[in-house]
Amino acid sequence: MTTSRLPVTKLLSVLLAVVLAVIGLALAPAPPAEAHAALSLSEPADGGMVATAPAAARLTFSEPVAPLLLRLLGPDGATQELSGASLEGDTLVVPLPPVTAEGTYVLSYRVASQDGHPVGGALVYAVGDAPPDRSAARVPPPSDPAREAAVWASRAALTVGVLFGIGGALFLAFASGPPLPSARRVVGSALGLATVAAPFAVALQGLDALGLPLSALPQGAMLAAGLASPYTLTVGGALLAAGLAAVSLAAPSLVMRRLTGLIALAVLAFAVSLSGHASSAPPEAITHRAVSVHVAAAAVWVGALVPLALMLAARASETATRALASFSRIVPWAVAALALTGGFLAAVQVRDPAALWTTDYGRVLLAKLALVAAMLVLAAVNRWRLTQPALAGDATARRRLVRVIAVEAVLAVAVVGTLALWRFTPPPRALAAAAAAPAEVHIHTDAGMATLTLTPGRAGPLAVEIALPTADFGALPAKEVRVTFANAAAGIEPIRRPATETEGVWRIDGLTLPVAGVWTVRLDVLISDFETLRLDGTVTLAP
């Protein structure tokens, strides 16, 4: 017993050192928190003018969102919290208070996107006939490095806990003989770490969602915001899995230990597919399962490391040898599953290989891959150099094997620490989607108004959609609509196109606006045979 205690403490102190080191590293760059639901349209438009204060604002995002915090900053500088927002498809409808004062208003929003990550922003509009004053726009709450570090640490701790705890319990259940008490203790503490980290992860998620500083931690609203996030489902599932793993650890019969261990792994695999960037990437039916398999395989591999090392170090010769034999039988399959699903998910998320080094997400992935590669090298050394002699009873080989496995476990912790950084980096897939967000121009005159949506909002081939609402938000009875795009600065002559109508919406397809920059837009709307409404505006296209 005393012989096995020493390596355990040693191993734990090494793990702690690595966790602290990775926390230190993560604090340094602190990438900005932004996730991938992007605001694509708003009514009133950002930078737009409305004659009278609208009764409600409509914010359309690239995917359904949940409102977290909505505030209206009036021209007098007073801030009002807005409640009662409802979701219509991808559009958030925010009732606005009845205001009469003319001037610049700032609608600040913070919403949770589908994967649970918060997105913040503000749109500035003016009521009256003067354009909005941009300087009135206050930047949404700044990113708080301490808060982000705490979010990161809670997530990393939870992940380390469940991988080592559930994987460890499973390994102990399937390794022959009664579990080694020291291994049981380590696996139990990993499960304990997950249990402690879980409520922090949820609370910090809420804190981050509301953009509050770390000092505001004990607040009901924040916990509610955290609980409302889909990440809570994942955490809840992980907690359940950790509980099952604890049952497996303590269960008297072998069948029960194995059964609950497997159920714990399945619950964990399902739970992790409920939130996160990767699970919300299309094709979802496949990415969900890939995430599940990936995490389950990681738990099988990583979770086995610490108990195996302890068993080998404890010189419980017969059982340890058999455990090593089954480990080297099973783990190659887990590694293959990891590589397959990981490769697939990376391909979905990164798309363009250049994004590996041009985006934060890609750099995190590269770092993770480097650490995994180091783990694989160690695993290969174990397998082809040390396993056979150790199985044959070579004591030196066995000692070295223990040491290498310990290093492997430390690397696994570092991998988890790295991938927890993904919480702060939108995948290139989402960045590409944001770049393809439509450009919008809202024209409002005494005679009438129009909203043109250019998709995608960048130079090149695009489609134009024109909505012609009347002052009371009915549709303007137009007989013909012609749109003229001109870019005199780029020396491009006016491009004129007739629009065709389907169900109240006018469209132009197959249009190409060749250069980025500011284009003037002119709309000729034929209202009756002898009456035309002319609307002029500008739209800015991204390159």
Partner: protein
């Protein structure tokens, strides 16, 4: 080089066509007088023959009578005026609001369409009174219906409505 010249020629031709607007022959008239309007139609709809010419009579122009035209069917649309006008002692509250000539005018031909009407006293002087006009062809239409905003003239527009500058009563 050849393409450049060709492009320049085409551009010049296009510009020339665009500038040939439908206009009124007499571009100034006094309020409180009877005005003989002669609408000049310079071309069809981008090559198509004109099959219908429609003129909208603006408010304040009363007792309108179009001149029949050989080869063209003449119709008028009558409706109420916004208010009752005094026409030589007779109150007049309705009358012709639109004139429609139906026939055929080839794109390469020119023609004129004539009507007369009373420019009532209340019309704003030193301003242009516009007669929105539509040429309908087989598949297209040429709409001379743009009414310049304050501070702009018909020259700023591609398809301005024909107009007459109103002069004070002498």
């Amino acid at each position: 080089m050849k393409t450049t010249i060709l492009a320049a020629a085409l551009l010049a031709a296009g510009t020339a066509t665009a500038f040939a607007h439908a206009t009124l022959e007499v571009q100034e008239a006094k309020v409180g007088s009877t005005y003989k309007a002669v609408l000049r139609v310079p071309h069809g709809c981008e090559g198509e023959a004109t099959l219908k010419v429609r003129i909208k009579i603006p408010e304040g122009v009363i007792a309108v009578k179009p001149m029949p035209k050989a080869g063209w069917t003449l119709e008028t649309v009558k409706g109420p005026y916004a208010k009752t006008y005094d026409y030589y002692g007779t109150p007049m509250s309705a009358g012709v609001t639109e004139i429609v000539w139906t026939g055929e005018l080839l794109d390469e031909h020119y023609d004129e369409f004539v009507f007369r009407g009373r420019l009532t006293d209340g019309l704003p002087v030193n301003e242009v009174l516009y007669f929105p006009t539509v040429q309908e062809c087989a598949t297209k239409a040429e709409r001379w219906i743009e009414i310049p905003e304050a501070g702009k003239s018909a020259d700023d527009y591609e398809s301005p409505a024909p107009g007459v500058l109103l002069q004070p009563k002498s």
